[in-house]
Symmetry: C2
Subunit: 189 residues, 2 copies
Amino acid sequence: MNVSPLIQSFVLHFGEMGSRWGINRTVGQIYALLFVSERPLNADDLVDLLGLSRGGVSMGLKELQSWNLVQLRHLPTDRRDHFTTPDDVWAIMRTLVEERKKREIDPTLTTLRDLLLATPQTAADTHAQARMGAMHEQIELLTAWYDDIQKLETERLVQLLSLGSKIAKALEFKDKLFVLPGGRKEAVA
Amino acid sequence: MNVSPLIQSFVLHFGEMGSRWGINRTVGQIYALLFVSERPLNADDLVDLLGLSRGGVSMGLKELQSWNLVQLRHLPTDRRDHFTTPDDVWAIMRTLVEERKKREIDPTLTTLRDLLLATPQTAADTHAQARMGAMHEQIELLTAWYDDIQKLETERLVQLLSLGSKIAKALEFKDKLFVLPGGRKEAVA
DNA sequence: CGACTATTTCAATCATTATTGAAATCCTCG
DNA sequence: CGAGGATTTCAATAATGATTGAAATAGTCG
């Protein structure tokens, strides 16, 4: 691998993590190198710098493109394809979450919806369907939240994240305020 | 597989998804079946119902235990180990997030911290380190938010999620209010 | 339109991971 | 403590996934 020790450590780490992330080592390494590079790299650069095969780099880049994680660039006087990652780490993060949701959550949501429509044949089925319903409801709530949050501009998103549970403190306070004499709570939200 | 068609579909789906989630098919199937079962199941039940090998079930259960995703139960008059998943889907979700963070985020955070301490040897290193710094900062912000949120009781968490971006709307409003004549914003949060 | 280069494809190989099932170990109850 | 059943281990095998590199294709420039 023809990169400095610092960069090599980073690249190797991403290669390792790749397997835990459902992408493979090659793809992880390519992405890591593109992420830290000052200039766009072409496939030959990646072959040289990472010591991978020509075909492997081609497939890795194709996969990264399918994830929308790399951008294709054309440099003047060079007709080869060059690749970069976006500069903005928040943009990257949004893409990552979006794609993982698409691959890891949406299919399950679809399956759950289908199964919830089926007529249970046994007591076991009825119980199973109730469990699936609980799971479905939860995922719906989470994805609705995500859809909502995802629309925010980065500045505001960061603001919201920085706030953290302070907001929940406020909710708590509000609840305490609105506890009625009987002990029940008024619905206010 | 000796389960009703409804449950079989659910189990098979989780088996399929297992690979996308970094767990294997067997583990996914075992978990799915435990999740929808009315009663705790023992290893033999799982062998019968899912048609897996004795060893595979043993390893699958061990893995699920290492994820804290199943609970061991002992039934009276039966000395075999029985397994269940928690009833509360939010508790499950917390465990899942916690474990994935531990496996998929924390190691990267550690690596980044180490690499940020290194002295850059080249201009490329300096640039790479800046990129790593941006990544590090972002992950820190996200995990700090998570640590904060994670402490909330479920009721309040759900409340917060339901609110979604309404809070951001409020932030926006606040910002508009506090824009000073010069156009700069007062720091208020 | 060629000649040349860049890129992709794909069959073959290699590596890793999953799975089996029999043997070994561990437990527990009488 | 030991017999019987429950559980785990592990070597062997199967299945899947990653990687290579040479051949095919696509694309571009003069």
